[in-house]
C-alpha cells in the first residue's frame, strides 16, 4: 500500500519545526527536558477498557472491510476484548492535527511526525517493560532519533524499508551497482528514468553526492547547508532532463515498469514483488552509495482514554504474527526476527540484516538546526526543500 503515506511522508512539514529543532538539539546534546518528556510512562497495566481508538496510515490497521482476507484487527478484538475504531490519515500534518483533539489513543507516526508529536506533548513515553513483544524487536530500530528522546522510548517500531534502485533487466543485463545510472549516466536512458515525486527526494541526491563529491562535506543527507542544497538541486535539475515521469503512487510505478515506459529509477521492494508477480523483467538493488528509507513508530497519546487497550495494541502489533501480516500487506520489513517465521518474503526485504539497515538514511524532517551537529552554519529546512523541488520540476 505504498501510498499516500509515502507521498506524504514525503509530505513533510514545516509545522512546529522549532520544537523539533529543540528536541533534536536535546537528542544530540544533553539539553533540558522537552515539554512532552515530563510525562511519566505508565508504571503498570490495569484492566482493558473494552475499546481503543487508533489513528493510522491506510493499510496499517485492516479489519477486513476493504478485503475480507486482510484482517488482523478481529483476532486482536477477540483476544483482548478491546474493540478497535480506526481512522486513517493522508498526511503527517493531518495526523498531528487529529492527535491534538485527544480523541485517539494510538497513532502510527512516521519519522517526520514522531518528534513533533513528542514536542507538542501529544504522545506519552512508553514503558517498554509492559510490552513483552518489545524485546524481540531488532536492536537497530530501538531508541533511534525518530522514536526516542534522551534514551526514553516514545513508541514501538513497526516496520521499515529502503528506497531501492529498480532497473529493467533487458536494458541492464548486468546489475548496476551505483545510483549514477539515474544521475551522471541518466542521459543514456533519457525519457525512461523515474524519480520519487517529493521534496524529500533531494536527500537521495545528497546521498549520492556524499559518495561522489566528498568536497561538499555532506555528513547527513537531511542536513544540508545552502551550498550543499544548491549542489543537490543542480544534480537534480540535470537529472530532470532525462526523467520520463516522476512517480508518487505505487500503481503508476508498477505500470510504467511493466510497459517499459520507465526502465530505471527509485522504487520499493513491494513494487518489485508485484512486478515479479506480473512477470515483468525488473530487479532491484541497493547501490553502493547507500540509500534513504523509512521507519514507522506506534505511539500512545498522552491523553489516551484507553491506555490499557493502547498498550495491548502496541504489544499485539509487535507480536510476530500480527507484525508479519501487517508489514507484509504494507510491503516493508517487519520489526522482529520472530515475525519472519510468518512471512516467506523476509529475505527479499533484508529483514534483520543490520548491515543492510545501516546503509539506510531514515527519513527525518530537514530543519534549520543542522542534524549533523554543525553549529557554524544553519541548514536548509523543509520549506526550502519544497521550494527547491518545485524549482527542479519547473
Amino acid at each position: 500500500m505504498k501510498r499516500n503515506p509515502h507521498t506524504t511522508r514525503g509530505a513533510f512539514v514545516g509545522l512546529a519545526i522549532a520544537s523539533v529543532a529543540l528536541l533534536t538539539a536535546c537528542g544530540t546534546s544533553s539539553g533540558s527536558g522537552a515539554s512532552g518528556a515530563s510525562d511519566e510512562p505508565m508504571a503498570e497495566l490495569g484492566d482493558t477498557e473494552g475499546q481503543v481508538s487508533i489513528l493510522a496510515w491506510p493499510g496499517y490497521v485492516e479489519d477486513g472491510t476493504n478485503d475480507p482476507a486482510v484482517d488482523w484487527v478481529t483476532p486482536f478484538e477477540e483476544d483482548t476484548g478491546c474493540m478497535v475504531t480506526t481512522k486513517t490519515f493522508g498526511t503527517s500534518d493531518e495526523a498531528l492535527n487529529l492527535m491534538k483533539t485527544g480523541d485517539y489513543d494510538v497513532v502510527s507516526a512516521s519519522g517526520d511526525a514522531s518528534l513533533r508529536l513528542v514536542a507538542a506533548g501529544d504522545v506519552a513515553p512508553v514503558n517498554t517493560d509492559l510490552i513483552p513483544n518489545y524485546e524481540g524487536i531488532y536492536d537497530f530500530l530501538k531508541n533511534q532519533s525518530w522514536n526516542s528522546v534522551d534514551g526514553v522510548a516514545y513508541g514501538v517500531p513497526h516496520g521499515y524499508g529502503a528506497n531501492l534502485l529498480m532497473y529493467n533487466t533487458d536494458e541492464f543485463p548486468t546489475a548496476p551497482t551505483s545510483w549514477d545510472v539515474v544521475f551522471d549516466k541518466a542521459s543514456e536512458n533519457a525519457g525512461k528514468v523515474t524519480a520519487y515525486d517529493s521534496p524529500i527526494y533531494i536527500a537521495d541526491a545528497a546521498v549520492y553526492l556524499m559518495a561522489h563529491e566528498p568536497d561538499l562535506g555532506i555528513e547527513n543527507p537531511y542536513s544540508l547547508d545552502e551550498e550543499q542544497l544548491a549542489a543537490a538541486v543542480d544534480l537534480l535539475k540535470t537529472q530532470r532532463e532525462s526523467i520520463g515521469e516522476y512517480w508518487s503512487d505505487y500503481l503508476k510505478e508498477v505500470q510504467a515498469f511493466t510497459t517499459g515506459d520507465t526502465v530505471v529509477g527509485t522504487s520499493w521492494q513491494v513494487i518489485q514483488n508485484v512486478l515479479e508477480g506480473e512477470g515483468a523483467k525488473t530487479a532491484v538493488v541497493l547501490p553502493e552509495e547507500g540509500t534513504t528509507g523509512w521507519s514507522d513508530t506506534w505511539m500512545i497519546s498522552s491523553k489516551a482514554k484507553n491506555p490499557n487497550c493502547a498498550y495491548a495494541w502496541l504489544d499485539y502489533i509487535a507480536s510476530p504474527e500480527a507484525n508479519a501480516t501487517a508489514t507484509s500487506y504494507f510491503g516493508e520489513a517487519p520489526s522482529s526476527d520472530a515475525a519472519c517465521e510468518y512471512r516467506e518474503d523476509c529475505e527479499a526485504y533484508h529483514a534483520g540484516d543490520a548491515d543492510y539497515a545501516s546503509q539506510i538514511w531514515y527519513w527525518s524532517t530537514p530543519i534549520e538546526e543542522c542534524l549533523d551537529g554543525r553549529t557554524d552554519v544553519s541548514c536548509t529546512d523543509y520549506a526550502a526543500w519544497t521550494a527547491a523541488w518545485q524549482e527542479i520540476k519547473g
Binding site: 511493466t258 510497459t259 518545485q390 520540476k393
Partner: protein
C-alpha cells in the same frame, strides 16, 4: 387544495393574509427569495474566499510554522516575479485553452446532431451515452488513459501500422485526458442551448434561401454562443485547477494546481499557496469580464 378551485371562497387564514401581503409587496417577496441563497453564498463562499486572499498578504514563520498576520507583499512579489510561476502559469493556461478549444470543437457537432438531426428516441439514447462516462469516476478514467497512452498501450497498437506513435506521457497526454474528462460538461449546455433554438427559425432561413452554413453561422451560432460560453467556463476552469490528471499522465510537468497543492499539503505554507491561487483567480475573473462584455453572461 381548496384554494386552487376558483369557485371555493378564499378562506381568511394567516397564510392567505401573508400571501396577499406578499403579492402587493414585491420587494419583500424578493428579499425572502434571496435571503437564504445569498446568506449561503456570501457567508460560506465569499467570506472564505476573502479570508484566503487576505492570507496571501501574511507569511509563515519558517521557524515556528505559525502564520504571522503581519502585512507583507513578499508572497505576491515572489509569485509575480518568480520565473517558476511564469513558466507554470503559461503552461497551465495553454493546457486549459487547448482543452477548451478541443472540447468545443468536439461538442458542437455532437450536440447539433443530438438536438437537430436525431429522432427523439435516438436523442434519448445519445444523451445517455454522453452522460454515462460521467459515472465512471475521474480517477478510473484518468488511469484508463494512462493505460491507453502507454508505449505498450492501445493507441500505440492502433497507430503503429500507420507509422504513428502514442504521444507518451506529457502535456499532449494531459490535454487529451482533460478534454476527455470534461467533454460531457461542454456537450450538455451546448445541447441545451441548441434545443432552445426553434426549428421554425431554421426553416424560415431555409425558406428564404439561406444555405446551411450561413444559417448556422449567422443564426444558430449567435443564439447558442451563451451556451458555448457556459460550456467553456466548465472546461477552462476545471482544467486550470487540476493537479491529479497531470500527475497521472503528465510526465514531468506540473501545473498551477500542483504548486498550490504542494504548498498547502507538504510545505504547510498557506500564504504562499494563497498567493499562487491568485493567479487562476485573476485569469478566471478576466475571462468572466471578457465574456460579460459580449453580453453572454446575462444569458447564462
Amino acid at each position: 387544495m381548496t384554494s386552487a378551485h376558483v369557485e371555493s371562497r378564499p378562506r381568511r387564514t394567516t397564510a392567505r393574509a401573508g400571501s396577499a401581503f406578499l403579492s402587493t409587496h414585491p420587494r419583500t417577496r424578493l428579499a425572502l427569495l434571496l435571503a437564504a441563497p445569498l446568506f449561503w453564498l456570501v457567508i460560506v463562499y465569499i467570506v472564505a474566499l476573502a479570508l484566503l486572499l487576505v492570507t496571501a498578504f501574511w507569511s509563515v514563520d519558517s521557524f515556528t510554522g505559525v502564520i504571522t498576520t503581519e502585512f507583507t507583499l513578499d508572497n505576491i512579489i515572489e509569485v509575480v516575479t518568480g520565473s517558476l510561476y511564469q513558466t507554470v502559469t503559461l503552461r497551465t493556461v495553454g493546457v486549459a485553452l487547448a482543452v477548451t478549444i478541443i472540447d468545443v470543437v468536439l461538442a458542437l457537432p455532437i450536440a447539433f446532431f443530438m438536438a437537430k438531426v436525431a429522432t427523439p428516441r435516438m436523442q434519448r439514447v445519445l444523451l445517455i451515452m454522453v452522460l454515462t462516462p460521467l459515472w465512471a469516476s475521474y480517477l478510473v478514467k484518468a488511469y484508463a488513459w494512462r493505460s491507453v497512452l502507454s508505449q505498450d498501450g492501445i493507441l500505440e497498437w492502433l497507430l503503429a501500422p500507420f507509422g504513428g506513435h502514442t504521444p507518451g506521457y506529457g502535456l499532449p497526454a494531459t490535454i487529451i485526458t482533460l478534454s476527455y474528462l470534461w467533454l460531457p460538461y461542454v456537450i450538455l449546455p451546448i445541447y441545451a442551448g441548441l434545443e432552445r433554438v426553434p426549428d421554425s427559425l431554421l426553416e424560415a432561413s431555409g425558406d428564404l434561401g439561406g444555405k446551411t452554413w450561413p444559417t448556422l453561422r449567422l443564426i444558430v451560432f449567435p443564439l447558442i454562443l451563451p451556451a458555448i460560453i457556459a460550456g467553456t467556463i466548465f472546461s477552462f476552469s476545471l482544467s486550470l485547477g487540476d493537479y491529479i490528471t497531470v500527475n497521472i499522465v503528465g510526465g514531468t510537468n506540473q501545473m498551477l494546481g500542483n504548486l498550490v497543492y504542494t504548498n498547502v499539503g507538504a510545505a504547510n505554507n498557506l500564504p504562499l499557496a494563497s498567493a499562487i491561487a491568485l493567479i487562476p483567480i485573476v485569469i478566471i475573473f478576466g475571462y468572466l469580464f471578457l465574456v460579460r462584455r459580449t453580453g453572454a453572461l446575462d444569458n447564462l
